[in-house]
Amino acid sequence: MANEPKKSSRRDFIKISSASVIGLSLGALIPGGKWLENEVYAIPASQGYLLVDTKKCQGCSTCTIVCSLAHEGKQNLSLGRIQVQQNPFKAFPDDIKIDQCRQCAYPACVTACPTKALHADKKTGVRLVSPDKCIGCQRCMEACPYETSNAAWNHEDKNGHKCDLCLETPFWKEQGGPNGKQACVQVCPVNAIAFTKEIPVQAGDGGYKVNLRDESWKQLGYPIS
């Protein structure tokens, strides 16, 4: 259950590839800076990213539930902006798939949004939704190049939403965002979610699906490679 990009057109493929190349080559320069590409104009890179270890995850879904709690004040798997999917009858490691927003260097959701509701935060570069501007067209969901869209539909508030690295959590008093804490990272019982300010490799899954298993994990008898 790898987090494979959904089937895409050649044009989509070129878009993703070019974004990835830029991410790879300019990674260290991008945070705080600006870059240009054919159709993209001056979208600053996010100053933070979530990384997950799908082989470490215990499948408790606490990350998903706390996400909805911190943002919406309610507990709801469907409103969580990080999603854990499981098949108990599949063998490890294919039994768990985690979908977290990649804060893409080339954010297809941002460019697809007709009202700029989905935008990059000026201070932090975090890709997030201004609900008051969202017209509910769901183009962000369609534009997200991943099989399970990381831009999601908040059916209760009737707007799109996505991971903002806890930049705006009306129901959690902790300072969030790239310079603060993220609720999912804080609650994960096995520390299978990490935050980084360094832009991950954009090509493929490897930059975002990482190995967070160390000696302490090995001591419990689990694989670390």
């Binding site: 499948g59 490890f92 059916h155 689990y222």
Partner: protein
């Protein structure tokens, strides 16, 4: 009503009628078992019926913490109704399972589900948010629990998808989900009315005790599927998040600095099992758990099984091959697929082997049984034994009755209870490894209750010091230290360490009555109604805390509940609700025919010295010659007369009639159960003051 969805689904299978019960009518019981018992009281008019009777009422209840970030509790679910496993009659009973069913039930908008009646043909119940359908199960009947779930996933997941998200209706305002429905199903054992048949959810979550699989089979109910996209309203989200983070940082397993000590809430996320875990695996947990106790494996075998499911065949397998082989995993998976109670299968198979070795059982023997015991330990033997049990093939018809009833059919019950080769100490239920002669409160709470209680509150007082002592180590905490730390938490009997004196001299004391009472009321409320997990709660001692004092208490269980539902319930107030539920349950037992004269262990508990169990020695804290120490309980047996005296003390402590064990009006009245007292009085079953 924050934390609730406000309605309980009521399904009458006989008339295929779907209605709702307002949760607020039962909110004083909070959730789980308490609401289940109160609904059972109201809806099951004749409580003397057999568990297989269509009029039996089965409840499947979540709680306010279901589907939330409350650590180790969010995924538990409670089942109640008249069981078919216990002996001599099927008591009103309970079972409890984990996974994600209760959470998904809440997201679908339901606090619980009540099943009544019997369908005229096999059915399953399809719950998608508020849309509830009773569907024909023609294509599902005959399938294993795993196959049935996968079939149902296919049916439900055919819904419209949008960019990897599934819609539950044509309206996008109904929301999307990435999740599979949570399905609770019976296997072939349940279809064939096995008294040891379970309800199974996902790969390894089972409501194992009570024979509810057989009860569902008798109702022609194959499965219930729930999926939803709704929200659980929460009173103080920030307080709940902070409580969860504090629990992780201060009480849970610390990966960076793991403490050497005795763990419970602070356990690492590793398999709580008795077979070797595959190295290529991950920990796997129920929804919201702070530390999973199961694994999913690279071979795909043995996934999600833990504890007794893993012990069921491991020893037979090791004896056969000199080491554990994959056959142990295969056998465990078969148990889950057929949906058979692991304790019945384990203790039953031990019993059959003993009869075989006695020359009583085998091909052409007095008890004619085709099983080839030379192959015991192989996957093929397990398959044959479990298949015979599930399908009632040949002598499997006896196995499916549970091994106490099987022994009765074979004319051996009295003798085998006397010699102790049939280790079923209470109510015809298999021994849990925690023998009444050693771990007194486990046995007593089971026999004054309705089943093997399976409540590990004080069970660490055996495992932890025994492992240390047999390993040649000084116990992490001395008997005096650990009993002092725990005693502080035993509200409403707090600060009385003598309650934890497991010496034989103290076995018949009022202190032991208090320990049993605490166990019952904590279990009835915090564990089985609020639904904190038995494996992680109560947190009585914890090496991460400077004084080893665990999270249980006002800063523990109620803190999470209050953050969700609002209010300021104290730990003590919760215990009082537990007392109410425990009294209600005992009123039901009384209506079913319970009398103190029935409350007796199997003969071997009184007549045969204890062999020391799994590790050969069974240490527990106790006072000897005026000093606290760890006492090896091996070699002990209980005294019949003294146990009878203890029962009198216990009934008096609960405010019940010591002559009968029946609840009294004054006890019921102080708990707001006057209507229950009226019913008992009408039937001349009210205890004398």
């Amino acid at each position: 009503m924050k934390g609730y969805q406000g309605k309980i689904l009521r399904v009458d299978l006989s008339n295929r009628k779907i209605t709702k019960i307002e949760t607020k009518k039962y909110a004083e019981y909070v959730g789980g078992h308490g609401i289940g018992s109160a609904i059972f009281w109201d809806l099951c008019k004749d409580k003397t019926i057999d568990g297989f009777d269509p009029a039996n009422v089965v409840t499947i209840m979540g709680s306010p913490i279901s589907g939330t970030i409350t650590p180790s509790g969010s995924g538990r679910c409670e089942v109640t109704g008249i069981g078919v496993q216990s002996y001599p009659i099927g008591w009103y009973t309970r079972s409890n399972f984990g996974g994600r069913f209760s959470g998904m039930m809440k997201y679908a908008g339901w606090d619980g589900i009540v099943i009544e009646g019997k369908a005229d043909k096999p059915v399953w119940i399809d719950v998608r948010n508020s849309d509830v359908k009773i569907r024909d199960a023609d294509g599902l009947w005959g399938l294993s629990t795993w196959e049935a779930q996968e079939e149902i996933w296919e049916v439900v997941n055919k819904s419209v998808t949008k960019d990897g998200w599934k819609a539950l209706s044509s309206s996008r305002d109904a929301g999307f989900t990435t999740q599979k429905p949570a399905v609770l199903a019976i296997g072939q054992a349940g279809e064939n009315l096995g008294r040891s048949a379970c309800l199974i959810h996902d790969a390894g979550n089972g409501a194992g005790q009570g024979g509810f699989g057989g009860v569902w089979g008798s109702k022609n109910l194959k499965a219930i599927s729930v999926i939803g996209t709704g929200s659980i309203e929460t009173d103080d989200p920030n307080a709940l998040i902070e409580a969860r983070i504090a629990a992780k940082n201060n009480y849970a397993y610390n990966f960076d600095d793991p403490k050497v000590g005795w763990n419970r809430f602070s356990s690492s996320p590793t398999l709580g099992g008795f077979y070797d875990r595959e190295e290529e695996s991950r920990p796997q947990s129920c929804m919201g758990c702070i530390a999973g106790c199961r694994a999913r494996t690279a071979s795909g075998l043995g996934s999600e099984s833990s504890c007794v499911e893993t012990i069921f065949y491991a020893d037979f397998n090791r004896r056969k091959f000199g080491k554990q082989t994959r056959d142990a995993y295969v056998a465990t998976d078969l148990l889950q697929k057929y949906g058979i109670n692991a304790y019945e299968a384990w203790r039953g198979l031990e019993y059959l082997e003993k009869l075989y070795k006695l020359g009583v059982l085998g091909p052409g023997k007095e008890i004619d049984c085709p099983l080839d015991f030379e192959q015991l330990g192989t996957a093929e033997f397990a398959e044959e034994f479990l298949r015979m049990t599930a399908f009632r093939e040949g002598i499997g018809d006896d196995f499916a009755e549970g091994f106490v009833r099987a022994a009765e059919r074979w004319g051996r019950l009295e003798e085998d209870w006397k010699t102790g080769i049939l280790v079923y100490p209470y109510w015809g239920c298999p021994d849990h490894m925690y023998d009444p002669r050693a771990e007194i409160e486990w046995g007593y709470a089971s026999i004054v209750g309705d089943r093997d209680m399976n409540q590990h509150d004080f069970n660490g007082l055996y495992w932890d010091p025994t492992k240390d002592i047999l390993g040649g180590k000084q116990p992490y905490l001395s008997a005096e230290e650990v009993t002092k730390v725990i005693a502080e938490k035993l509200v409403p009997f707090e600060n009385n360490p003598k309650m934890l004196d497991f010496s034989l001299e103290n076995a018949y004391s009022e202190d032991m009555a208090k320990l049993v009472s605490w166990t019952q009321i904590y279990g009835r409320f915090w564990k089985n109604s609020v639904l904190f997990c038995d494996w992680r709660w109560p947190d009585l001692y914890n090496p991460n805390a400077p004084d080893n004092s665990g999270l249980t208490g006002d800063e523990g269980e109620p803190k999470f509940l209050n953050a969700i539902i609002g209010g300021n319930m104290t730990f003590s107030e919760g215990m009082e609700t537990g007392r109410k539920i425990w009294n209600l349950d005992n009123a039901i037992y009384t209506l079913q025919g319970r009398h103190r004269d029935l409350v007796k262990f199997a003969d071997y508990i009184y007549d045969i010295p204890y062999d020391g169990g799994l590790m050969g020695s069974y240490y527990l804290p106790g006072i000897e010659n005026g000093e606290w120490k760890y006492i090896d309980t091996k070699g002990r047996k209980l005294d019949r007369d003294k146990f009878e005296e203890w029962k009198t003390k216990y009934y008096k402590l609960e405010g019940w009639d010591p002559e009968t064990g029946w609840p009294t009006r004054s006890a019921l009245k102080t708990l707001g159960l006057n209507h229950v007292a009226d019913e008992l009085e009408k039937r001349s079953l009210l205890g004398k003051e």
